[in-house]
Assembly symmetry: C2
DNA sequence: ACAGCGGGTGAGTGATCAATCACACATATC
DNA sequence: GATATGTGTGATTGATCACTCACCCGCTGT
């Protein structure tokens, strides 16, 4: 009974992109099969290929969508922030980002994209996304370039913390790296 | 005439690890075949499998070796630095790191490792390497934890600049990200 | 009744890959 | 000379994957 209405291909496409995002986030570009994505979307891989002619197209669509979500979240955080100082607005955006990547999916996909940036279209999509993130952070916060650069650098450090599982390591070096960086812990409520 | 003496397996192993490092750096873990590595090393893949029972073992060996090189370089830079202030020693180490990754190989391998950190042994090797880098940076520079963390964060940003090819983009957002970050340009001398 | 069409699939195909095996060639030891 | 051991390879295997093709189903218009 969950299928309430007819599903046109226009309706299928976002569902497939969602499935692609979640699936590629786990296995990466080379490590994920189109059949995996199809299974997650609940359709046949043949139909996925009809809507996305190549695996590359599918990955790029998932990556583009992830960046849209990220930019939207950053924008909302900046608009909602009552902070007056630019650096405080950036902090609000950082907190929102930390909340957004709590489920790791968006973060992992970015790291996989970085790893596969040698594939021409993936690299281009990555740069597109980074451009939007950078300009959004810069314009919405009105912080100076150094502060925005630092914002991005610590975002990257956050990626490292999560992908390498540093947050779960009980040692001085790990605490040094992860200090002040919010990270998931799909928590017990 | 280049082969001056018999090549025992002990002599072959470092050569294979070198080839693995260079080859995995290009294609990543999932995107590189053991046959690729074997070809780069100039031997058969069957023999590679005899010395490294699995592809995972080969990748981990390459990653471990990369971190050894990095830590050695950082250590040498710190020891050679005449700087007295801890932050200046860190800067010297950062400069040495920038020089080391000029050929992108070590950097790319780290990014690929981050992307494949979900593979248990790869994640463990990555954490091993990060521990050594962190403690080396901290102890050799005697800088405080915040400065070391910033050193690492900007190292990660540097990885992003190189993998995403941001250094070659002629736009404000790209210059903002890459400002002050030395990057390759396999230069014309 | 039937043609046309968008949505959807099962069953392939050719290529590729991690890993294995049987075997060759040398050197050494007894 | 026989036996063993280390170095090295070509051929193969069983699985997997990106991608294709022939085909089915249900709908709409005539």
């Amino acid at each position: 009974m969950p299928t309430k209405s007819l599903s046109t291909s226009e309706r299928r496409i976002p569902a497939i992109v969602d499935a692609a995002r979640d699936t590629f986030a786990v296995g990466g570009y080379a490590g994920t099969t189109v059949a995996d994505v199809a299974k997650a979307a609940g359709i046949s891989s043949a139909y996925v290929f009809k809507l996305f002619p190549t695996k590359q197209d599918l990955f790029v669509a998932a990556l583009d969508r992830s960046f849209v979500e990220i930019v939207e979240t950053l924008t909302r955080a900046a608009d909602a922030s009552s902070a007056t100082k630019p650096d405080d607005v950036l902090d609000a955006m950082a907190a929102a980002y930390a909340g957004l990547i709590a489920d790791r999916t968006l973060l992992l996909l970015q790291v996989h994209a970085q790893s596969s940036a040698g594939v021409t279209e993936v690299g281009a999509a990555l740069r597109r996304g980074l451009e939007k993130v950078t300009t959004t952070a810069s314009q919405k916060s009105k912080a100076d370039d150094d502060a925005v650069q630092r914002f991005l650098a610590f975002g990257q450090l956050c990626h490292l913390v999560v992908t390498a599982g540093i947050g779960d390591v009980d040692a001085d070096w790990a605490r040094l790296i992860a200090r002040g960086i919010r990270h998931p812990d799909t928590a017990t409520p």
